[in-house]
Every structure is written in structure tokens, then in C-alpha cells.
């Protein structure tokens, strides 16, 4: 099932997005470029601030950890040098999580990370912050039943699928840039180098399959997975957004 996204629906923030996928619902808002505090001001770059707010309770070290990961990833795709001495403030509010999340045995921050990345990217796009590239992210889980081959890998599994495939030996989050370059990798659990390699390959397939590479992609469609990859999904979301913004032009 492809993720659902609603863009620019908040009135106060400069850019906003609500992202729903696999039972996760996250509201993201971006304010920027705005005035920055003197102590955070950088003479040649923009400051990026990320706030992750959990659905229940106040932020804990888990959220701080996610913020650090998001911060370093997003900083590398935002053209911070074109808007120096300003602040780009990204707030991500987790609205709902799947009920089974806590019992999957996979680190909850890994489960959340790809969704947070997508939400923040959509919110940044909605706020028209200059970006050098887009990003797509995916979670891959390797169950410990037998030697992991491409077929046993779980590609962006739902919480229920994870529960069924328990115990999960390792979980990996990969984020790729629009050009297919690896931006972020977080892995948890025990795995061999070959397994990681296979997982990375599968993730790249899901995130940014080349138009030419038909072979495996066709196979995926037969398996009942989404026919389009995440890059195509992102493109369609942006196309809808641009179409909406340019409607004054196209109707005349």
C-alpha cells in the first residue's frame, strides 16, 4: 500500500504535511527561513532545527536520537548555503502509531524513522525550502527463521507482518537521495555483511529503481507489492502539489 500524503493543510506554519502509512500518522510542519537566535546563527549556512514530538508524553532520549539522525540527513539535502543566517525549523508530531508496535521486537525508533524522513521531506517541499535532492527511505526486516535470501526480506513491513514473522533478527533503515545515493543507514540486530549488502540492494530497488531495470521490478508487482517505487510515489505527490499551485495558470 502506498503512503498517503496531504500537503500544506496547516494555516500557521510555512509548510506542512500529514503522512499516513502502515498505521503510522505523522504531522510535519516547517517554518523557514526565519530569524535565528544569535547563538545558533551561522555566517554562511542556515541552521536546521528538528523537533520530534511523540504521540504520548514529552520527548525522551529516543526522540533526541531520532532528531540527531534526521538533523544530519536533512542538513545534507537542504541547500543551507543559499539561505545563510536563517533558521529552518522542522516539527514532527507523531499522531498515531499501530497498536502492535511495542510487541514487534524491533526498535521503535527504527520503525518510525522512514516515516519521519518522508514527512519532513514533504513538509520541506511544501514550505519551498531549497533542496539539493529528494530522499526516500525504507525499512527492511530480516526474520531469523532461515538463511536470509531476497525472498524472506520484509520490505517496509506493517506491524502485523513483523509480529507474524517474529523473531526478527535484524532491521535496517536505508535512505536514498534522488540520484540513488545512500544518505542514511541505521541497522539494528545481528547480520552478516552479505545480508546487509542484499538488504541495501533491495532497499535501493524499492526507493529508486531505474526505469530501465525491469527484471526484478516486474517480479515485485507479481508479489502484490506496490507497482511503483517510492521515488515515483514522491514524484506523483509533488506533481499534484505543483498542479494545485499552478491551477490559476492552467485554467486560463
Amino acid at each position: 500500500m502506498a503512503p498517503e500524503a496531504i500537503l500544506s493543510h496547516l494555516h500557521r506554519a510555512d509548510g506542512s504535511a500529514t503522512y499516513t502509512h502502515n498505521g503510522y500518522c505523522i504531522i510535519g510542519a516547517v517554518n523557514g527561513p526565519i530569524e535565528v537566535l544569535r547563538r545558533d546563527e551561522m555566517p554562511e549556512e542556515a541552521t536546521v532545527e528538528v523537533n520530534v514530538r511523540p504521540a504520548v508524553g514529552v520527548g525522551s532520549p529516543k526522540e533526541r536520537h531520532l532528531e540527531t539522525l534526521l538533523h544530519s540527513t536533512l542538513r545534507s539535502i537542504i541547500l543551507t548555503r543559499s539561505i545563510p543566517r536563517t533558521l529552518v525549523q522542522i516539527t514532527l508530531q507523531v499522531r498515531s502509531l499501530p497498536d502492535e508496535e511495542s510487541s514487534t521486537g524491533v526498535s521503535p525508533s527504527l520503525l518510525l524513522l522512514p516515516h519521519l524522513l518522508h514527512t519532513s521531506l514533504l513538509a520541506l517541499l511544501s514550505a519551498s525550502i531549497p533542496l539539493s535532492t529528494t530522499l526516500t527511505a525504507v525499512l527492511i526486516a530480516l526474520p531469523s527463521t532461515n538463511t536470509a535470501t531476497a525472498s524472506t526480506q520484509l520490505l517496509s513491513p506493517t506491524a502485523q507482518e513483523l509480529l507474524r514473522a517474529k523473531p526478527i533478527r535484524s532491521a535496517h533503515v536505508f535512505a536514498f537521495s534522488g540520484e540513488g545515493k545512500l544518505l542514511l543507514n541505521e541497522s539494528d540486530g545481528t547480520f552478516s555483511y552479505e545480508e546487509w549488502d542484499e538488504a541495501a540492494e533491495a532497499a535501493q530497488e524499492v526507493c529508486c529503481k531505474e526505469d530501465g531495470g525491469v527484471g526484478l521490478g516486474e517480479g515485485m508487482e507479481v508479489d502484490g507489492r506496490e507497482g511503483q517505487n517510492l521515488d515515483d510515489w514522491l514524484r506523483s505527490v509533488v506533481r499534484t502539489k505543483v498542479g494545485h499551485e499552478q491551477r490559476w495558470k492552467s485554467t486560463s
Binding site: A29, N51, V56, Q93, R95
Partner: protein
């Protein structure tokens, strides 16, 4: 963090002059609320309130803890309001603004101290185990009227929430999951709701449910919390505008009318949601709850 953008002198004068001519910028009557929208999520205890452009999400969650030593028979109930930069860039994480302090104080007085929730019903084993209920208020979009919207959100979420059932055998308590036993609603004693009146022109004029621009122009505010039975839970007055003591009687009767409308609206939405969940009409069979009079006021 940047300061909240101050309203310009021209804008301020424009709003004030329009009010003198009995006009509001959005064309509402002085005693009219903005369109109210209330939706519930798939889970129990999540209420999404939209009051005009203001949007607040309240979320109830439950946990098991030991009760406070001085209150052995009571559960724990907390309301947490923390503003995020999502609502306005002027809100900084970890540094509460004035509005945030006022909001949490009012909600504390209106809902917690007025005993809207029967905390004794949250006790599992006296002195040893109780439910700790927390209400997280997330402000998503800020266009004034935060207190009214948050109060509606928290009360609607409390009424929507179902806590898991417990099985007590002597000293041993087992919390039964949703799959094992149908969760039971909280025991709500009454439903307090807030109505904020904004004062203008040195207390000559008042508006109901002002938006952010009007809030920035106003001289003072009076927040009245009452339930639909006409019992006043709290009155708070902030700002310097003088208010006639007798005017408060007027305000309370107006507030009662608004609270009645809002309670009715919340009840309608709760009923709709219950109908949606109870598609096959099977919920009544699953219920493990004893019949008790819920909606009757105490005292």
C-alpha cells in the same frame, strides 16, 4: 526563537474601529463561535478538534503505577500541554510561554480540580496499584481560542476513551488486553467546558471565541468554565480591563447557552462514532461493564 509578530498599529485600529461599529472582521456575531469540527481517530481516546483555523488534538493514554501515598484510593490523572513550534514559531520547546502556562492552569482548574473525572474509579488495589491517566494536548494550528478548543478536545477524548479491564484476585491484578475483554469507559462525573470572553474598549464590549488577531488587540479576558447543568466550575479573569460584577451574571448565562450547544455537539459526535464502531450491533454483548448511572450530576 523569533518573537510572535506583533499586530500592526493600523490593523489594531481597524479591528477596534470595526468593533465600535458592531462588526467583526470575519463577519460573525459578537456571541458566535467559529465552526466547530470534532473527529475521532481509529483508536480510543484521540479527539481532533478544529475551531475555525485552530486545531488541537487531545490524546488519552493509560499506564499502571502506584498511587500517591497520601491518596491511596485515587488514581493519577495528568493533563499535559506543551506547545510546539508547529503552532507558531514563537513557541519554543522547553520554555513555556505565558499562553501555555495560562492554558495548563485553566485546564487543571476546569477539568482536574472540578473532579470531572472520578479518579477513585482508577484505583485497582488501594495503596498499591492504580491507573495513571494522562491527557496530552497537542496544538497543531494556532488561531486563537486555544483554551476553549483544548477543553473541548480533552473532554471529548475522555468521554471517548476506554480503559482496559482488570481482574483482581487478592493482591494480584491482571490487566486484560483489548482482545481478552472489552475495554470500559471512564467514569465521568460531569462535563466542564470553557468559554472565553474577550474584552475591548475598556470593558464596554465583549466577544466570544476571538481569533488570534482579536486576541492580540483585546484588553482582557474572562474565562468561564461550567457544565451543561449550569454549575460554574471556575472563573478566571486576565488582563487589565475592568469588568462590572453584574456583567458576570450575564456572561455565565451566555456561557451556559454555549456550553449546552457544545455538549450537545460532542454527544452527537460520540454517538456517531459509537454507531460506526458498533457496526454489527455486537458491542453490547461484549461489554463487561456493570450498569451505572453515568450522566447524572453528583450532588
Amino acid at each position: 526563537m523569533p518573537q510572535e509578530a506583533q499586530i500592526s498599529v493600523n490593523e489594531r485600529a481597524f479591528i477596534q474601529d470595526a468593533l465600535k461599529e458592531q462588526l467583526r472582521l470575519d463577519g460573525r456575531a459578537f456571541d458566535a463561535f467559529r465552526p466547530l469540527e470534532l473527529t475521532f481517530g481509529d483508536e480510543y481516546g484521540v479527539a481532533d478538534v478544529q475551531l475555525g483555523k485552530t486545531r488541537v488534538i487531545a490524546r488519552i493514554s493509560v499506564d499502571v503505577t502506584t498511587p500517591l501515598p497520601e491518596r491511596k484510593f485515587d488514581g493519577v490523572f495528568q493533563i499535559i500541554t506543551e506547545f510546539s513550534p508547529m503552532a507558531s514559531p514563537a513557541f519554543e520547546v522547553g520554555r513555556p510561554t505565558n499562553a501555555e502556562v495560562v492554558l495548563s492552569r485553566i485546564l487543571e482548574k476546569a477539568i482536574r480540580r472540578s473532579n470531572a473525572l472520578d479518579t477513585e474509579s482508577l484505583c485497582i488495589i488501594a495503596g498499591l496499584k492504580c491507573f495513571a491517566l494522562r491527557a496530552d494536548v497537542h496544538v497543531i494550528d494556532h488561531d486563537g481560542g486555544l483554551i476553549d478548543a483544548s477543553c473541548i478536545a480533552v473532554m471529548a477524548a475522555l468521554q471517548h476513551f476506554r480503559r482496559p479491564d482488570v481482574l483482581v484476585e487478592g493482591e494480584k491484578a491482571t490487566v486484560l488486553s483489548i482482545r481478552e475483554r472489552d475495554p470500559i469507559p471512564l467514569s465521568i462525573l460531569h462535563q466542564p467546558l470553557c468559554v472565553t470572553f474577550s474584552y475591548f474598549e475598556e470593558g464596554e464590549l465583549f466577544l466570544v471565541d476571538s481569533n488570534l488577531a482579536e486576541e492580540q488587540v483585546r484588553d482582557g479576558e474572562v474565562i468561564i468554565t461550567m457544565n451543561r447543568h449550569g454549575e460554574v466550575c471556575q472563573i478566571a479573569k486576565y488582563g487589565g480591563a475592568p469588568v462590572e460584577p453584574y456583567a458576570l451574571f450575564n456572561l455565565t448565562s451566555l456561557a451556559l447557552q454555549k456550553v449546552k450547544e457544545m455538549s450537545k455537539f460532542i454527544q452527537e459526535r460520540l454517538d456517531e462514532d459509537a454507531k460506526r464502531r458498533n457496526a454489527g450491533g455486537l458491542l453490547a454483548e461484549l461489554s463487561a461493564e456493570n450498569d451505572r448511572p453515568f450522566d447524572r450530576p453528583v450532588g
